[in-house]
Protein backbone atom coordinates (compact mmCIF):
# COMPACT_ATOMS: atom_id res chain seq x y z
CA UNK A 1 0.00 0.00 0.00
CA UNK A 2 1.11 3.54 -0.71
CA UNK A 3 2.27 5.37 2.35
CA UNK A 4 0.27 8.58 2.15
CA UNK A 5 2.26 10.21 4.93
CA UNK A 6 5.19 10.71 2.57
CA UNK A 7 3.07 13.18 0.59
CA UNK A 8 2.41 15.36 3.61
CA UNK A 9 5.72 17.15 3.33
CA UNK A 10 7.60 18.86 0.55
CA UNK A 11 9.54 16.45 -1.66
CA UNK A 12 12.57 18.73 -1.18
CA UNK A 13 12.12 19.31 2.53
CA UNK A 14 15.18 21.07 3.94
CA UNK A 15 17.20 20.95 0.71
CA UNK A 16 19.88 23.57 0.20
CA UNK A 17 23.10 23.86 -1.76
CA UNK A 18 25.94 26.30 -2.35
CA UNK A 19 26.59 29.77 -0.99
CA UNK A 20 25.43 33.32 -1.72
CA UNK A 21 28.85 34.26 -3.10
CA UNK A 22 28.42 31.80 -5.98
CA UNK A 23 25.10 30.06 -6.35
CA UNK A 24 22.62 29.26 -3.62
CA UNK A 25 19.64 26.91 -4.02
CA UNK A 26 17.13 26.48 -1.26
CA UNK A 27 13.77 24.84 -0.92
CA UNK A 28 11.23 27.20 0.65
CA UNK A 29 8.57 25.61 2.84
CA UNK A 30 5.05 25.54 1.42
CA UNK A 31 3.41 28.88 0.93
CA UNK A 32 -0.28 29.04 0.22
CA UNK A 33 -1.30 29.73 -3.36
CA UNK A 34 -4.69 30.76 -4.60
CA UNK A 35 -5.46 30.74 -8.30
CA UNK A 36 -8.10 33.05 -9.67
CA UNK A 37 -9.62 32.96 -13.13
CA UNK A 38 -11.85 35.90 -13.99
CA UNK A 39 -12.41 37.94 -17.14
CA UNK A 40 -10.72 41.35 -17.20
CA UNK A 41 -14.06 42.86 -18.18
CA UNK A 42 -16.09 41.05 -15.51
CA UNK A 43 -17.61 42.96 -12.60
CA UNK A 44 -16.35 40.19 -10.33
CA UNK A 45 -12.77 41.37 -10.95
CA UNK A 46 -13.54 44.70 -9.28
CA UNK A 47 -15.07 42.90 -6.31
CA UNK A 48 -11.96 40.75 -5.87
CA UNK A 49 -9.79 43.87 -6.03
CA UNK A 50 -11.93 45.54 -3.40
CA UNK A 51 -11.63 42.59 -1.02
CA UNK A 52 -7.86 42.32 -1.52
CA UNK A 53 -7.50 46.13 -1.46
CA UNK A 54 -5.30 46.04 -4.56
CA UNK A 55 -5.52 46.36 -8.34
CA UNK A 56 -4.89 43.09 -10.17
CA UNK A 57 -2.09 43.73 -12.70
CA UNK A 58 -3.32 43.50 -16.29
CA UNK A 59 -0.17 42.70 -18.25
CA UNK A 60 0.77 39.00 -18.43
CA UNK A 61 4.13 38.56 -16.69
CA UNK A 62 3.70 41.50 -14.34
CA UNK A 63 3.29 41.17 -10.58
CA UNK A 64 2.12 43.01 -7.51
CA UNK A 65 3.54 42.63 -4.04
CA UNK A 66 2.60 43.89 -0.60
CA UNK A 67 3.55 42.74 2.87
CA UNK A 68 0.93 39.97 2.90
CA UNK A 69 1.06 38.38 -0.52
CA UNK A 70 2.40 38.44 -4.09
CA UNK A 71 0.15 38.42 -7.15
CA UNK A 72 1.51 36.88 -10.34
CA UNK A 73 -0.27 37.52 -13.65
CA UNK A 74 -0.08 34.19 -15.48
CA UNK A 75 -2.59 34.87 -18.24
CA UNK A 76 -4.98 37.59 -19.39
CA UNK A 77 -7.62 36.17 -17.04
CA UNK A 78 -5.43 34.22 -14.64
CA UNK A 79 -3.75 35.29 -11.41
CA UNK A 80 -1.88 33.34 -8.78
CA UNK A 81 -1.74 34.81 -5.29
CA UNK A 82 1.19 33.53 -3.26
CA UNK A 83 0.75 33.93 0.47
CA UNK A 84 -3.01 34.46 0.46
CA UNK A 85 -4.79 33.07 3.49
CA UNK A 86 -7.94 30.95 3.75
CA UNK A 87 -9.55 34.13 5.00
CA UNK A 88 -8.77 35.85 1.69
CA UNK A 89 -10.31 32.90 -0.13
CA UNK A 90 -13.48 33.09 1.95
CA UNK A 91 -13.80 36.84 1.44
CA UNK A 92 -13.35 36.55 -2.32
CA UNK A 93 -15.91 33.77 -2.55
CA UNK A 94 -18.39 35.77 -0.52
CA UNK A 95 -17.93 38.97 -2.53
CA UNK A 96 -18.21 37.36 -5.97
CA UNK A 97 -21.23 35.22 -5.04
CA UNK A 98 -22.66 33.40 -8.05
CA UNK A 99 -20.65 35.42 -10.60
CA UNK A 100 -18.58 33.60 -13.20
CA UNK A 101 -15.23 33.29 -11.48
CA UNK A 102 -13.00 30.43 -10.42
CA UNK A 103 -11.10 30.43 -7.13
CA UNK A 104 -8.96 27.38 -6.40
CA UNK A 105 -6.61 26.80 -3.50
CA UNK A 106 -3.58 25.14 -5.13
CA UNK A 107 -1.31 25.40 -2.10
CA UNK A 108 -0.09 21.82 -1.98
CA UNK A 109 0.39 21.60 -5.73
CA UNK A 110 3.77 23.27 -6.07
CA UNK A 111 7.17 23.18 -4.44
CA UNK A 112 9.12 26.43 -4.11
CA UNK A 113 12.80 26.71 -4.89
CA UNK A 114 14.74 29.91 -4.36
CA UNK A 115 17.73 30.47 -6.64
CA UNK A 116 20.09 33.29 -5.66
CA UNK A 117 23.74 34.25 -5.61
CA UNK A 118 26.11 35.75 -8.15
CA UNK A 119 25.54 33.04 -10.77
CA UNK A 120 21.77 32.57 -10.31
CA UNK A 121 20.94 33.82 -13.80
CA UNK A 122 23.74 31.79 -15.39
CA UNK A 123 22.53 28.58 -13.74
CA UNK A 124 18.93 29.09 -14.87
CA UNK A 125 20.08 29.87 -18.40
CA UNK A 126 21.38 26.32 -18.67
CA UNK A 127 17.78 25.32 -19.32
CA UNK A 128 15.43 28.31 -19.30
CA UNK A 129 14.97 29.47 -22.86
CA UNK A 130 13.32 32.83 -22.25
CA UNK A 131 15.24 36.05 -21.78
CA UNK A 132 16.37 36.65 -18.18
CA UNK A 133 18.35 39.83 -18.84
CA UNK A 134 17.10 42.63 -16.59
CA UNK A 135 16.11 44.89 -19.47
CA UNK A 136 13.59 42.25 -20.61
CA UNK A 137 12.94 40.56 -17.26
CA UNK A 138 13.23 43.30 -14.63
CA UNK A 139 12.59 42.87 -10.91
CA UNK A 140 8.90 42.18 -10.37
CA UNK A 141 8.52 40.07 -13.52
CA UNK A 142 7.18 36.56 -13.72
CA UNK A 143 7.04 34.04 -16.54
CA UNK A 144 5.70 30.60 -17.07
CA UNK A 145 7.61 28.23 -19.31
CA UNK A 146 9.63 25.04 -19.58
CA UNK A 147 12.76 24.34 -17.56
CA UNK A 148 14.41 20.95 -17.95
CA UNK A 149 11.26 19.75 -19.79
CA UNK A 150 9.19 20.64 -16.74
CA UNK A 151 6.53 23.37 -16.45
CA UNK A 152 7.90 26.05 -14.15
CA UNK A 153 6.86 29.52 -13.05
CA UNK A 154 9.76 31.90 -12.41
CA UNK A 155 9.14 34.98 -10.30
CA UNK A 156 11.95 37.50 -10.16
CA UNK A 157 11.17 39.34 -6.96
CA UNK A 158 13.90 41.17 -5.07
CA UNK A 159 16.77 41.75 -7.49
CA UNK A 160 19.10 38.77 -7.65
CA UNK A 161 16.60 36.25 -6.27
CA UNK A 162 14.57 33.95 -8.49
CA UNK A 163 11.63 32.02 -7.10
CA UNK A 164 10.83 28.82 -8.98
CA UNK A 165 7.41 27.23 -8.59
CA UNK A 166 7.30 23.65 -9.81
CA UNK A 167 4.73 20.88 -9.49
CA UNK A 168 5.57 18.80 -6.43
CA UNK A 169 5.91 15.60 -8.45
CA UNK A 170 8.58 17.21 -10.68
CA UNK A 171 10.42 18.95 -7.83
CA UNK A 172 13.10 16.31 -7.31
CA UNK A 173 13.77 16.18 -11.06
CA UNK A 174 14.16 19.97 -11.25
CA UNK A 175 16.36 19.98 -8.15
CA UNK A 176 18.63 17.37 -9.77
CA UNK A 177 18.85 19.51 -12.89
CA UNK A 178 19.65 22.66 -10.90
CA UNK A 179 22.32 21.01 -8.78
CA UNK A 180 23.90 19.60 -11.91
CA UNK A 181 23.84 23.02 -13.62
CA UNK A 182 25.22 24.67 -10.47
CA UNK A 183 28.22 22.34 -10.12
CA UNK A 184 30.60 24.34 -12.32
CA UNK A 185 29.85 27.59 -10.46
CA UNK A 186 30.20 26.19 -6.94
CA UNK A 187 33.99 26.01 -7.24
CA UNK A 188 34.38 29.56 -8.62
Amino acid sequence: MVNLKQFRESPLKGSKLGSKSTIYLQEKPFATTLEIRVKQTSGAKGKIEKVLKIKLPTKVGSTFRNKDFTVLTLGPDWWMIVGATTNHEKLIRKSTGSQFVSIVDTSAQRTFIEVSGKYAQAVLEHGWENDLNVQNFPGGSCAQGILARTPVIIYYGPIGVYHLYVRASFAQHLWNFLTDAATEYLAK
Binding site: V60, G75, N130, Q144, I146
Partner: protein
Protein backbone atom coordinates in the same frame (compact mmCIF):
# COMPACT_ATOMS: atom_id res chain seq x y z
CA UNK B 1 13.41 26.22 -33.56
CA UNK B 2 10.61 28.67 -34.39
CA UNK B 3 10.19 31.83 -32.36
CA UNK B 4 6.48 32.52 -32.03
CA UNK B 5 5.03 35.78 -30.82
CA UNK B 6 2.23 35.18 -28.29
CA UNK B 7 -0.05 38.26 -28.26
CA UNK B 8 -0.01 38.13 -24.43
CA UNK B 9 3.45 36.82 -23.49
CA UNK B 10 5.65 38.03 -26.35
CA UNK B 11 8.19 35.98 -28.33
CA UNK B 12 8.62 32.44 -27.03
CA UNK B 13 10.11 29.16 -28.23
CA UNK B 14 8.06 26.79 -30.36
CA UNK B 15 8.29 24.08 -27.66
CA UNK B 16 5.92 26.11 -25.48
CA UNK B 17 3.17 25.94 -28.11
CA UNK B 18 0.87 23.50 -29.80
CA UNK B 19 -0.41 23.80 -33.32
CA UNK B 20 -4.08 24.26 -34.15
CA UNK B 21 -4.23 24.27 -37.97
CA UNK B 22 -6.11 26.78 -40.10
CA UNK B 23 -7.69 29.81 -38.41
CA UNK B 24 -11.11 31.34 -39.03
CA UNK B 25 -13.02 28.09 -39.50
CA UNK B 26 -16.37 28.78 -37.92
CA UNK B 27 -18.35 26.08 -36.18
CA UNK B 28 -21.34 25.19 -38.38
CA UNK B 29 -24.40 27.21 -37.45
CA UNK B 30 -26.71 24.21 -37.66
CA UNK B 31 -24.50 21.13 -37.18
CA UNK B 32 -27.56 18.87 -36.95
CA UNK B 33 -28.44 19.71 -40.55
CA UNK B 34 -25.07 18.70 -42.05
CA UNK B 35 -24.70 15.40 -43.87
CA UNK B 36 -21.63 13.21 -43.29
CA UNK B 37 -19.74 14.69 -46.19
CA UNK B 38 -20.28 18.29 -45.03
CA UNK B 39 -19.39 17.36 -41.45
CA UNK B 40 -16.19 15.63 -42.60
CA UNK B 41 -15.34 18.71 -44.61
CA UNK B 42 -15.76 20.93 -41.55
CA UNK B 43 -13.65 18.59 -39.37
CA UNK B 44 -10.86 17.56 -41.75
CA UNK B 45 -10.58 19.64 -44.90
CA UNK B 46 -8.14 22.54 -44.64
CA UNK B 47 -6.39 24.82 -47.08
CA UNK B 48 -2.79 23.91 -47.79
CA UNK B 49 -1.37 27.03 -49.39
CA UNK B 50 2.19 27.55 -50.50
CA UNK B 51 2.95 30.87 -48.82
CA UNK B 52 1.17 32.87 -46.17
CA UNK B 53 -1.28 30.94 -44.01
CA UNK B 54 -3.40 32.24 -41.13
CA UNK B 55 -3.33 29.54 -38.47
CA UNK B 56 -4.03 28.86 -34.81
CA UNK B 57 -1.54 28.17 -32.06
CA UNK B 58 -2.07 27.65 -28.34
CA UNK B 59 0.46 28.79 -25.77
CA UNK B 60 0.29 25.59 -23.74
CA UNK B 61 3.26 26.15 -21.46
CA UNK B 62 2.46 29.69 -20.40
CA UNK B 63 -0.81 31.64 -20.68
CA UNK B 64 -2.78 28.64 -22.10
CA UNK B 65 -4.39 30.92 -24.69
CA UNK B 66 -5.35 30.28 -28.31
CA UNK B 67 -4.44 32.93 -30.84
CA UNK B 68 -4.03 33.39 -34.59
CA UNK B 69 -0.87 34.11 -36.51
CA UNK B 70 0.27 34.52 -40.11
CA UNK B 71 3.00 32.05 -41.10
CA UNK B 72 4.71 31.54 -44.41
CA UNK B 73 4.64 27.81 -45.19
CA UNK B 74 7.62 28.09 -47.54
CA UNK B 75 10.24 29.46 -45.16
CA UNK B 76 8.46 29.39 -41.76
CA UNK B 77 8.65 33.16 -41.51
CA UNK B 78 6.14 34.50 -39.00
CA UNK B 79 3.93 37.49 -39.72
CA UNK B 80 1.80 39.32 -37.17
CA UNK B 81 -0.03 37.36 -34.47
CA UNK B 82 -3.41 38.53 -33.25
CA UNK B 83 -5.95 37.72 -30.57
CA UNK B 84 -9.09 35.75 -31.43
CA UNK B 85 -12.16 37.82 -32.35
CA UNK B 86 -10.01 40.81 -33.30
CA UNK B 87 -9.51 42.21 -36.78
CA UNK B 88 -7.21 40.09 -38.91
CA UNK B 89 -4.09 41.99 -39.98
CA UNK B 90 -3.66 42.01 -43.75
CA UNK B 91 -1.67 39.22 -45.39
CA UNK B 92 2.06 40.00 -45.15
CA UNK B 93 3.86 40.72 -48.42
Amino acid sequence: MLLINCPWCGPRDETEFHYGSEAHIAYPEKPEELNDEQWAEYIFIRNNPKGWYAERWVHTASCRRWFNVWRNTINHEFGPSYKPFTKQPSRPK
